[in-house]
C-alpha cells in the first residue's frame, strides 16, 4: 500500500487501487504467471476492500482456477486460491489447492494458511504452532493479528491484546487500512467482553485512521444495536448498504428497525436476508450456513431449522465457533443435554471466547434447573 493510497482514506484508496488494477490488466502479458497473479491479487484486494461479497469472491475464485489451469506451479496463485476457499468456508478446496504443490505448506505464507485451516478445523494447538513458526521465520503484522484472534478464540484476552499491540507496532502510516482493520478487531474483542465504550473507542480510532470505510461503519451499527440505540444503528446500516449490499447487513438493519418498533420494515429486511441466505445454501454454498443458524435461533425463531443449519455448519468446521452455535441452537430447540455436549466439545477443543462461555453458562443453568 502506498502513502497516497492509505493517507486519504477509503475512497481515495479504492480509486487508486482500481487505477492500479486497470494499469496492470492493460499491461499484463497473458503468458506470464507473475502478471496473472498480480492482476488477480489486485482484483482480490479490490473485492475485499469494496465489500467482500461472497459472490464476488466466488467469481474471483473461478478466475484464479482458470489461471491455475494455465500456471499450476505458480505458488502465489495457489495461496490466493486457498485463501479464497477459506473465505467462503471451503476448507476442503483450500487443502486440495495447497497439497497440490509440494513444499507450499512449508513456506511462511503457506504455513500461515495451513494454520488458518487448523484453526478453522478447531485444532487450536496446531494453529498456534503454525502461526508462531511462521512469525519466527517471517515476522508479519498479519500473523500477529492471527495469533491475537486465536488467543481471543481460546479465551486469552490478555494475550490477544498483546498480540494486537505487536501487530499495530509493526504498522506504519503507509498501512492505515491494515491499522484500521486491527483496530476493528480490537473493538470486536471489547464488544464481545461487554465493553461497549471500549469498542466505540476502537471503532472511532479505526475511522479516524482510515475514514469512510463501510467495514467500520458496519461495526458501529452493530454496536449501536447492542447499545440499544436503534436509530443510530438504522442510520449506520443504511449508510453501509448504500456501499455494500450484503444480506447480513439487511438482517442487521431489520433487527435495528424491529428495536425501533418499525416492524413491517423490519420484516421486509429480515425476509430479504433470509431469502439470500437460503438461496446461497440452495446453491450448495456453505458460507451462510452459520448466518442461517443464528437467524433461525434468535432473529425469527425456528429452532428445528436452526439446529439443522448449525449441524451442517459444524460438519464443515468442527471448531469452537460452530460448536458454540450448534449448542445454542440445540438449546433453543429445548435439547439441553445435546446442547451441553456441544459446548463441552467446544471447550474441550480449547475454545473459550466470551460468547461460548456465556452460552455455556446459560445452558448449564438450564441443565441444573432440570436436574
Amino acid at each position: 500500500m502506498t502513502a497516497a493510497l492509505a493517507a486519504a482514506g477509503y475512497r481515495a484508496d479504492v480509486a487508486a487501487l482500481r487505477r492500479r488494477r486497470r494499469e496492470h490488466e492493460a499491461a499484463a502479458d497473458p503468458a506470464s504467471p507473475a502478471a496473472a497473479a498480480e492482476v488477480l491479487t489486485l482484483r482480490h484486494r479490490e473485492a475485499v476492500l469494496t465489500g467482500a461479497r461472497p459472490e464476488d469472491l466466488l467469481a474471483l475464485a473461478d478466475q484464479v482456477d482458470d489461471a491455475l489451469a494455465r500456471f499450476p506451479t505458480w505458488p502465489d496463485l495457489r495461496l490466493l486460491r486457498a485463501g479464497l476457499a477459506l473465505a467462503v468456508h471451503r476448507p476442503d478446496q483450500a487443502r486440495t489447492v495447497i497439497d497440490a504443490l509440494p513444499g507450499l505448506a512449508d513456506l511462511p505464507p503457506g504455513r500461515v494458511l495451513v494454520a488458518d485451516l487448523a484453526q478453522f478445523a478447531g485444532d487450536y494447538r496446531a494453529a498456534r504452532e503454525g502461526y508462531l513458526r511462521a512469525a519466527q521465520e517471517d515476522p508479519q503484522w498479519d500473523t500477529s493479528a492471527r495469533l491475537a484472534a486465536l488467543a481471543a478464540a481460546t479465551g486469552d484476552v490478555a494475550e490477544a491484546d498483546t498480540r494486537y499491540d505487536e501487530a499495530e507496532d509493526d504498522l506504519t502510516v503507509k498501512q492505515l487500512r491494515a491499522f484500521a482493520w486491527v483496530r476493528v478487531q480490537r473493538g470486536d474483542l471489547a464488544l464481545s467482553g461487554g465493553d461497549l465504550e471500549g469498542a466505540a473507542r476502537r471503532y472511532a480510532e479505526a475511522d479516524r485512521a482510515y475514514p469512510g470505510w463501510w467495514y467500520v461503519t458496519a461495526r458501529r451499527a452493530r454496536l449501536a444495536t447492542a447499545d440499544e440505540r436503534p436509530d443510530d444503528a438504522i442510520a449506520a446500516y443504511w449508510e453501509v448498504l448504500t456501499e455494500v449490499d450484503r444480506p447480513e447487513f439487511r438482517e442487521g438493519l431489520g433487527t435495528a428497525l424491529a428495536a425501533a418498533g418499525r416492524t413491517d420494515e423490519a420484516a421486509a429486511c429480515h425476509d430479504a436476508a433470509l431469502a439470500a441466505y437460503t438461496a446461497s445454501a440452495d446453491r450448495g454454498e456453505t458460507h451462510y450456513l452459520h448466518h442461517l443458524a443464528e437467524f433461525c435461533a434468535d432473529v425469527v425463531p425456528d429452532p428445528p431449522a436452526a439446529v439443522a443449519w448449525a449441524e451442517r455448519d459444524a460438519r464443515i468446521r468442527r471448531n469452537g465457533t460452530a460448536l458454540s452455535l450448534l449448542g445454542w441452537c440445540l438449546f433453543r430447540a429445548g435439547r439441553t443435554d445435546e446442547a451441553r455436549a456441544a459446548v463441552e466439545e467446544a471447550l474441550a477443543l480449547g475454545a473459550g471466547d466470551a460468547l461460548l462461555l456465556a452460552r455455556a453458562r446459560e445452558i448449564g443453568k438450564e441443565g441444573e434447573r432440570h436436574a
Binding site: 497473479a37 505458488p75 505464507p109 517471517d138 515476522p139 498480540r163 499491540d165 503507509k174 485512521a209
Partner: protein, 520 residues
C-alpha cells in the same frame, strides 16, 4: 544503491511494492578539505520519494555520530576464532556502553521546511528549521557554523548493480519471483565473478541484452541449482565476466542530507578522538501515531538488541518505526543476506557468526574465480577449479577457510590516504564491517575503508577482500584498487575487458559544498 539490505517491505525490486523513501542508499563520510578548520563531511542518501527534492513528511532520518580515539590493534596478530570473538565482545561492550551517540535528526513538513535537531553534542542540543534544496548555514549555540544541504542530488553511487546481482545469482533482479518464495531470491548456484558454463538463468544472453538491466522475465520452473563443472569460455578461450562496468545508477537521483561539520562540534577532544563513527537510519511514522496512541512494548523475543534500543527511544522516536540502516557499503547487501529483521545498524554484533559463515560462503564462490584469473585468493578453496555453492551451519566450521579473508590487512595502492603520515594500521575486514558504521579516520583522506569519499569505487574495493593482499603482484602487490585497474583486465583472458564497476560517477562531483552533483 550500495546498501542492498533494503527491507523487503520497502524494496522496489519486488514488483508489487512501490519504491519507498525509507530505502536508504549510502552513507558517505570523510574529512573535509576545508583549510580554515578541521571538518567532516557527512552525507546520507536515500530514495527520492515522492520526488527528487521533495521529502516524504512521514519520514524521519537520523545520522548518528560517535567519535572516539583510534583503537589499538585488537588481538595482536592472532588469527583465531577466539581472537575474533574477543574483539567482537570487547567492541560490543565499548560500543553498547556508548549507545548514547550524538545525532542529527531530520524531518520535513508539507511546506518543505526541514526541522533539524542536533542532540547530544558538546555544544548541547538545539533545533533549527531550514529550507530544503538550499545550502544553509546553521549556527550552533557555540562554536563554528555547520553547513547543510537537505534536498535532491544526483546519486553519488556508481556501480554495476546488475553485475553484482548476477555474481550472487540474485533472482529478483532478473526474474519475477513468486512473492511467497523468498527462498528463491538468492538461488543455490555458486557465487562467481566468471560466468558458469550452463548457468542459463544468469549468464549474459546476447538475444536478451537488457535482461536484469530493467527487463525481467518470469522465473522459469527449476531446477535452480547448477550441476556444471567449469566456467563458460568463448571460442577464444576467454571467460565471460559477470560484470559489465556499466553504471547502473547513471541518470538516477537521490534525496540527501549533507552536512559539513567542524570536528570540534562533534567532540570536545578533537585532538584525541580521531575516529568519527557515523551511520544513518530511516524511520517511518507509525500508524498508531495518527490517533495519538502508542501500544505497549510488544512481546518480542526475536531480536533483543533491537528491543533494547526500542526501550531507550525518546518520545518522538516512539512514534516511528525503524525501517532501514546504512553504515558500511555492502555490509548488509553482501554479508547479511538482506533480511528485514537484521536492520540493526551499528549494533550488528549479534551477526558476527553470520558474518563469518557468509564470508566463507562467498569465498567458495568468488575464490575460485579469482584463482582462475591467475590472481591470488585470500580464501582457502583447496584449488577448486570452479565456484562451489557451500553454506555453513556454524562459524567454527566456516572460520578455517575464511581466516585470511577475515584477518588480512587491506593494502592501499599508495600512501596518499595517510595524509598526516601517522602510524595508522591498515584496516581488516572484520574491523570494517562490525560494527556497521562508517568509521572516518580524521588523519586520513577518509577514502574507504578509512571513511568513504564520494569518488571511492566501493563495489570494486569490496571485491578486493577476496584477493590475497600479502601475495606479490607486479611492482605494487595487491591492494584495494587492484581490480579497478584497466591494465589488469587488458591482460586477463576475459570479456568484456573492463573493471567490474565504472571508475567515475556519471556526473562530476562538485569542488564545493554540497559536493554531490546537481540532480538530473
Amino acid at each position: 544503491m550500495a546498501d542492498h539490505n533494503d527491507p523487503n517491505s520497502v524494496n522496489s525490486i519486488f514488483s508489487d511494492i512501490d519504491i519507498s523513501a525509507a530505502d536508504v542508499y549510502d552513507m558517505f563520510g570523510y574529512p573535509s578539505d576545508a583549510t580554515d578548520e578541521e571538518k567532516v563531511v557527512l552525507a546520507l542518501t536515500f530514495a527520492p520519494v515522492p520526488e527528487t527534492g521533495v521529502f516524504d513528511t512521514d519520514m524521519l532520518y537520523r545520522l548518528q555520530v560517535n567519535p572516539h580515539a583510534r583503537p589499538g590493534r585488537p588481538g595482536g596478530d592472532e588469527w583465531s576464532l577466539s581472537a575474533l570473538t574477543r574483539y567482537f565482545d570487547a567492541t560490543k561492550d565499548r560500543y553498547l556502553g556508548q549507545r548514547e551517540a550524538a545525532e542529527i535528526r531530520v524531518t520535513v513538513n508539507e511546506a518543505r521546511m526541514a526541522t533539524v535537531r542536533f542532540a547530544g553534542f558538546p555544544a548541547g542540543s538545539f533545533t533549527v528549521r531550514v529550507p530544503t534544496n538550499e545550502v544553509t548555514t546553521i549556527r550552533p549555540p557555540s562554536g563554528s557554523a555547520i553547513t547543510a544541504y537537505l534536498g535532491g542530488r544526483d546519486d553519488a553511487f556508481f556501480n554495476d548493480l546488475p553485475g553484482f546481482f548476477r555474481s550472487i545469482n540474485y533472482a529478483p533482479q532478473f526474474y519475477n519471483v513468486p512473492h511467497s518464495r523468498p527462498d528463491l531470491r538468492e538461488l543455490p548456484i555458486p557465487k562467481t565473478l566468471l560466468e558458469l558454463e550452463g548457468n542459463d538463468l544468469f549468464n549474459f544472453d546476447p538475444e536478451r541484452p537488457r535482461h536484469g538491466r530493467g527487463v525481467k522475465y518470469d522465473l522459469p520452473p527449476g531446477p535452480y541449482t547448477w550441476e556444471g563443472d567449469s566456467y563458460r569460455k568463448d571460442a577464444d578461450g576467454n571467460f565471460r565476466f559477470v560484470y559489465s562496468g556499466e553504471d547502473a545508477q547513471a541518470g538516477i537521483n537521490v534525496n540527501a542530507l549533507i552536512f559539513e561539520v567542524p570536528l570540534s562540534f562533534l567532540t570536545e577532544r578533537p585532538a584525541e578522538e580521531r575516529i568519527v563513527n557515523v551511520w544513518g537510519e530511516s524511520w517511518v511514522r507509525k500508524a498508531a501515531s495518527k490517533i495519538e496512541t502508542i501500544p505497549d512494548d510488544p512481546l518480542w523475543t526475536e531480536n533483543p538488541v533491537a528491543l533494547l534500543r526500542r526501550r531507550g527511544l525518546d518520545d518522538e522516536l516512539q512514534h516511528y518505526k525503524l525501517v532501514d540502516t546504512v553504515g558500511q557499503p555492502f555490509a548488509d547487501a553482501a554479508l547479511s543476506e538482506r533480511e528485514d529483521n537484521r536492520q540493526l545498524g551499528a549494533n550488528n554484533f549479534w551477526l558476527a557468526p553470520a558474518f563469518v559463515r557468509r564470508l566463507a560462503h562467498l569465498g567458495w564462490g568468488f575464490g575460485p574465480s579469482v584463482t582462475a584469473l591467475g590472481l591470488a585468493s585470500a580464501f582457502d578453496h583447496e584449488n577448486a577449479p570452479v565456484g562451489v555453492h557451500k553454506t555453513y551451519a556454524t562459524a567454527a566450521t566456516a572460520f578455517p577457510r575464511a581466516r585470511k579473508l577475515i584477518f588480512q590487512q587491506l593494502r592501499m595502492p599508495d600512501d596518499s590516504w595517510n595524509k598526516n603520515k601517522l602510524d595508522i594500521p591498515l584496516r581488516r575486514p572484520f574491523e570494517i564491517f562490525i560494527p556497521n558504521v562508517c568509521a572516518i579516520d580524521m588523519d586520513t583522506t577518509g577514502t574507504w575503508p578509512f571513511g568513504r569519499r564520494l569518488e571511492d569505487q566501493v563495489a570494486t574495493r569490496f571485491l578486493s577482500l577476496f584477493l590475497d593482499h600479502d601475495a606479490s603482484l607486479g611492482r605494487n602487490g595487491y591492494h584495494i584498487e587492484t581490480l579497478g585497474q584497466q591494465s589488469l583486465w587488458d591482460s586477463a583472458p576475459i570479456t568484456p575487458k573492463t573493471p567490474p564497476n565504472p571508475l567515475v560517477n556519471d556526473k562530476p562531483f562538485l569542488p564545493q559544498f554540497p559536493y554531490l552533483a546537481d540532480p538530473w
